[in-house]
């Protein structure tokens, strides 16, 4: 195999060679640049493959025929190979993206780019402290040079500020290095790690200086002022390189230093990391400029990886999986978004509505956001699962909470941005038609999905991307060009087929919910046959939601349950977003749902005690004071989906604004997910007390007080549908609650599904289903008689509900007649 030293020597040779070409030979220079980057990428890929498949072990490259620590040496292990591949590929793609600019600037700019990439590879591979410094300086200088490529005049000031800050940093680093050398007698990182004790005793100050300098190079919050200006004003392809390339390489350098520093420095790194993650995400909320927002997001994500680096001791073998997952997801997503921003002319967030007519670009946008946040099936999801569980297992609950909080903020502002792109008015400036730029973005999308598959394979859990329901949903993406009626038929066929294939294996609880979801879903979709056209985006979203629901009811371990939960959340968000004025409602739905999802996540993590392979049945074995907390977390999480009091504000708007056939999907089927979760939780955990209060009773009574007044209010006018829909949900909730209350009145020990009185269950669930009249049907029928609050709490109450529910079912005439003109 070719020695990895050629990654450095080759790029340098290429850069020097470019100097020999005439300035007018732009094409030749550009081709040489691309060729060099392609060769180095291929070399990196070759090594990454060999290391990943185990064909070779990590390789040490010595120079000058002298062993370390007397000469500089490099190392290429699996982590280094992955990073080097990332850096080179990003460089190659950015060079493609920068085609026009490079042609304009000439061969010198191309040489600077080559050296930039080479220096990043050097930072990753070197094992020598001073060599690290030299490569850092190379990165700084080439960054300063490439910033000048932007046409934005503000980039000049940004670049100058950057140089000043870097000078200060390098002064401190040099002082630290020389005193560290004095303390240990060597400049080699590995030998310094072996002699860590004398270094940290006598040279602690020196190490501190070096560490602080490198952390400052990372540009963590709040010391990130100069970095943001660059992110905002430089050419987007270059911002992509800085975010993906420099961020990754510098993080790896911090990791190398932490190897020397040990435990106290890891705590420092974790603290800086989490502050950066939460702080930068908070600031990102307020940003209106797209590139500055991405800059803050970059700072936040780098903080997250720093946090992971600081938790290396408890992550153990999972370290590379977790850190790599978050880092690669960040790099691909961030680079993709920056490249995408080059297509949009306006810099305001709503200006991204320019992408509205471009389904491929919208898909790219959605993919990048998903990979950045860590939604299933992307690597961040697997990585965060392991990380959160490890944190819970070690009792680092504050970090866990802050981590999930920061993630929620991130999801919030990123999806708000997506909402702008889908719903705002298209600005007059067209999207740039450049072929190369789209090619680069396409490559990034492919990379994102490839990583999703790869991390699924590497994960100890099942590969989510290979789950049949999810694949079925994704199948609709390439079929988007077909007419809606055909897709509808396919969708209905798929739902029914899946039910038919699986129902024999269902237990009673799963059977009921399976019927509601799959058969009910197929029935609801029948109404969609009347829609004409292609309905772009409807079927993948709807199928994603159904896939999540289908996987939810058969989930046996917490991981699959949570993955299914998030899938159905995202699918339903996209569905709700399709409504006319639904932008704010869809966003609040998403934020509440994801917030609830993270609470469920936290609940599972606590319950599992740090075991990421937690089976749901094991919830039964939980004992101790922890159980109350877990109950509370899970309950609140499920209730956000069920739209219980306080967590319901998204519901009316979403229902009203959603398309006609989406409403019943959301109210009748989607909300059942929350109900399923509550059932599951109650059966596994039984009655629980927290701080003396019986939580099951709290649950049961939450919906009751408000439902009755809502039911008796007379309604007229155009808002009938809205009110009826809302009221229907209230009533539906109340009926669920009654069913649950019935459950709660059963003896205290935890129940298996088979032991339940099926009538109680069916009555409660179906009753609530029937009690949720489609707005279209109830309003013309006039005042509806509803069970009053006096039925709650009595023995035999469930039976009463069953009777009413079954009666009402008979009265409701299928299929629902869509209301005209409302």
């Amino acid at each position: 195999m070719v020695s990895p030293i050629y990654l450095i020597a080759g790029a340098l040779g290429g850069a020097f060679f470019l100097g020999m070409l005439r300035d007018q030979w732009r094409t030749a220079s550009y081709l040489v640049t691309l060729a060099v980057l392609a060769l180095t990428s291929w070399l990196a890929a070759d090594w990454a493959w060999a290391l990943a498949t185990g064909a070779t072990g990590a390789v040490e490259i010595t120079t000058a025929g002298t062993p370390p620590p007397f000469a500089v040496n490099l190392r290429l292990g699996i982590a280094e190979a992955a990073l080097v591949l990332l850096i080179n590929l990003t460089g190659l793609l950015s060079a493609l993206y920068l085609r026009d600019t490079m042609f304009r600037q000439g061969r010198r700019a191309m040489a600077v780019l080559l050296i930039f990439i080479m220096a990043l590879c050097g930072i990753v591979m070197t094992r020598d402290l001073f060599n690290l410094f030299v490569f850092f300086e190379l990165v700084v200088i080439s960054t300063g040079g490439l910033v000048l490529l932007s046409r934005d005049g503000r980039s000049l000031a940004a670049g100058f500020k950057f140089l000043i800050a870097s000078q200060v940093v390098s002064i401190l680093m040099l002082v630290g290095i020389i005193f560290a050398y004095h303390a240990t007698g060597s400049l080699n990182l590995d030998s310094m790690a072996a002699n860590a004790a004398p270094l940290l005793k006598g040279g602690a100050l020196a190490f501190f200086l070096i560490f602080i300098a490198v952390i400052a190079e990372l540009k963590v919050f709040p010391a990130n002022g100069w970095a943001l200006d660059i992110y905002e004003s430089a050419h987007p392809a270059f911002s992509a390189l800085v975010s993906a390339g420099t961020g990754s390489a510098t993080l790896f350098a911090v990791d190398k230093l932490l190897m020397i520093g040990g435990a106290p420095w890891m705590t420092v790194a974790s603290a800086i990391g989490i502050v950066s993650f939460v702080g930068a995400n908070l600031f990102a909320l307020a940003q209106r400029n797209d590139r500055r927002l991405l800059g803050y997001s970059s700072v936040a994500q780098i903080g997250l990886v720093l946090l992971v680096a600081g938790q290396k001791d408890i992550l153990g073998e999972q370290y590379l999986f977790v850190a790599g997952g978050v880092l690669l997801a960040h790099a691909v997503g961030k680079a993709g978004l920056y490249w995408l921003s080059g297509l949009v002319t306006g810099r305001d967030l709503p200006a991204w509505a320019a992408l509205r007519g471009q389904p491929l670009m919208l898909f790219a946008f959605a993919s990048f956001i998903a990979v950045l946040i860590g939604l299933p099936p992307f690597p961040g999801f697997y990585a965060k699962w392991e990380l959160v569980h490890t944190l819970a297992g070690e009792g680092r609950l504050l970090l866990l909470g802050l981590l999930l909080f920061g993630a929620l903020l991130e999801a919030g502002y990123l999806f708000r941005w997506f909402g702008y792109a889908i719903k705002r008015e298209q600005p007059p400036e067209p999207v740039a038609p450049s072929f190369y730029k789209r090619l680069v973005i396409g490559a990034a999308v492919v990379a994102a999905w490839a990583l999703a598959w790869l991390w699924g394979e590497l994960s100890p859990h099942d590969n989510l991307l290979l789950a049949t329901p999810l694949l079925f949903a994704l199948l609709f993406l390439p079929l988007e060009w077909l007419p809606a009626k055909l897709k509808n038929a396919l969708a209905i066929g798929g739902l029914v087929a899946w039910f038919w294939l699986s129902y024999q294996a269902y237990d009673p609880l799963q059977l009921i919910f399976g019927a509601i979801i799959l058969i009910g879903g197929a029935l609801v979709l029948l109404a969609s046959f009347q829609e004409k056209g292609r309905r772009l985006g409807f079927y993948p979203s709807a199928m994603l939601m159904y896939a999540g629901l289908a996987m939810l009811i058969v989930a046996e371990d917490a991981f699959t349950f949570f993955a299914a939960w998030e899938s159905l959340t995202i699918g339903s968000y996209f569905l709700i977003l399709r409504g006319r004025e639904s932008e704010p409602h869809a966003l609040s739905y998403l934020v509440f749902s994801l917030g609830g999802a993270f609470l469920i996540f936290a609940g599972f993590a606590l319950a599992s005690g740090g075991n990421p392979d937690f089976m749901l049945d094991a919830l039964q074995q939980l004992t101790g004071p922890l159980v109350g907390c877990v109950f509370l977390l899970l309950a609140i999480g499920f209730m956000t989906k069920r739209a219980a009091i306080g967590l319901h504000i998204w519901l009316p708007g979403a229902h009203a604004e959603a398309e006609t056939d989406v409403s019943p999907m959301v109210s009748g089927i989607l909300l059942k997910a929350g109900l399923f979760g509550l059932f599951l939780m109650l059966m596994q955990l039984g009655r629980q007390s927290l701080w003396g209060g019986d939580l099951t009773h709290v649950l049961a009574w939450i919906g009751a007080p408000l439902a009755a007044p809502g039911a008796s209010r007379p309604r007229t006018g155009r808002r009938e549908a809205l009110l009826a829909g809302r009221e229907g949900s209230w009533v539906g909730w109340r009926s669920d609650v009654v069913a649950l209350g019935g459950l709660a009145h059963l003896p205290e020990q935890r129940r298996q599904p088979e032991e339940l009185d099926r009538h109680v269950l069916a009555g409660g669930v179906l009753g609530s289903d029937g009690c949720e009249p489609r707005g279209e049907v109830v309003a013309p029928a006039g005042h509806v008689e509803l069970p009053g609050p006096h039925t709650v709490g009595r023995e035999g109450a469930p039976v009463a509900v069953v009777a009413e529910g079954l009666e009402r079912r008979a009265r409701v005439a299928p299929p629902p007649v869509p209301l005209q003109g409302l």
């Binding site: 030293i5 450095i8 025929g65 000469a71 600077v112 001073f130 190379l138 300063g144 040079g145």
Partner: protein, 233 residues
């Protein structure tokens, strides 16, 4: 006011760090691990008399490669940013006063001496104090003298860049030869180490350092020329 106060606080912090370093500093009694290795092994392994040169060119050759690249990078960027040479090529706008007699004669006298001295320094890097960087800087000072004495004179960027690039590629090539013919990248033993203390000894070190000297000289000259061309005559 606040800014100044923060700055003073920051400097006070850094100053205290420095004070800590100074107070705990204990000079070595004997050479440490790496230094003693270099002291004992340089003469027989590499054949170089100047140990610092041996470290720079061979043992820590990768650092030197990076350093040389820094200069290349800077020259390229400065050239890119200040590219006005072609535009102002031609007659100057106003009539320049002639450089003084002292300057002209001095230049004519000193220029060849400076160039010779520079060449001596970088070619004898392995024997006496000095080396490629120092020699290259001296060469560039000759260029500076020329620029000062005749500001209107235009230099060929083409030639400078050619020298620079050729030297750079040769450096990388020699490094790769080290992998193929000797122990590793930038190993100087591709050429025989010869007799200790002679000009043609220490393997490839004089060759590398000569190339470095030419490259550094060319790059500094390029930077000086680019900067001087910004002057509007």
């Amino acid at each position: 006011m606040i800014k100044r106060l923060t700055l003073l606080l920051l400097l006070a912090g850094i100053g205290s760090l420095f004070a800590g370093l100074v107070l705990t500093y204990v000079p070595d009694e004997t050479l440490n691990l790496t230094a003693s290795y270099y002291a004992e092994r340089t003469a027989e392994d590499l054949g170089a008399a100047n140990i610092v040169t041996a470290i720079i060119v061979t043992y820590r050759g990768l650092d030197t490669l990076g350093e040389v690249t820094v200069l290349f990078l800077t020259a390229a960027i400065v050239g890119l940013v200040l590219a006005r040479g072609k535009e102002t090529a031609g007659k100057p706008q106003r009539q320049l006063p002639p450089p003084g007699e002292l300057l002209t004669t001095g230049t004519r006298l000193l220029l060849p001496l400076i160039l010779l001295f520079g060449a001596y320094v970088f070619s004898h890097g392995h024997l006496t104090p000095g080396g490629g960087f120092q020699g290259g800087a001296i060469l560039a000072s000759a260029m500076l003298l020329l620029l000062l004495s005749n500001p209107a004179r235009r230099f060929s960027h083409r030639l400078i860049t050619l020298v620079e690039s050729t030297a750079g590629i040769s450096f990388v090539f020699i490094g790769i030869l080290g992998i193929l013919l000797a122990g590793g990248f930038l190993d100087n033993r591709i050429l025989p180490t010869g007799t200790f203390g002679e000009l043609f000894s220490a393997g490839a070190i004089p060759l590398i350092y000569t190339l470095v000297g030419l490259k550094v000289g060319a790059e500094f000259s390029s930077m000086l020329v680019s900067l001087s061309e910004t002057e509007e005559l």
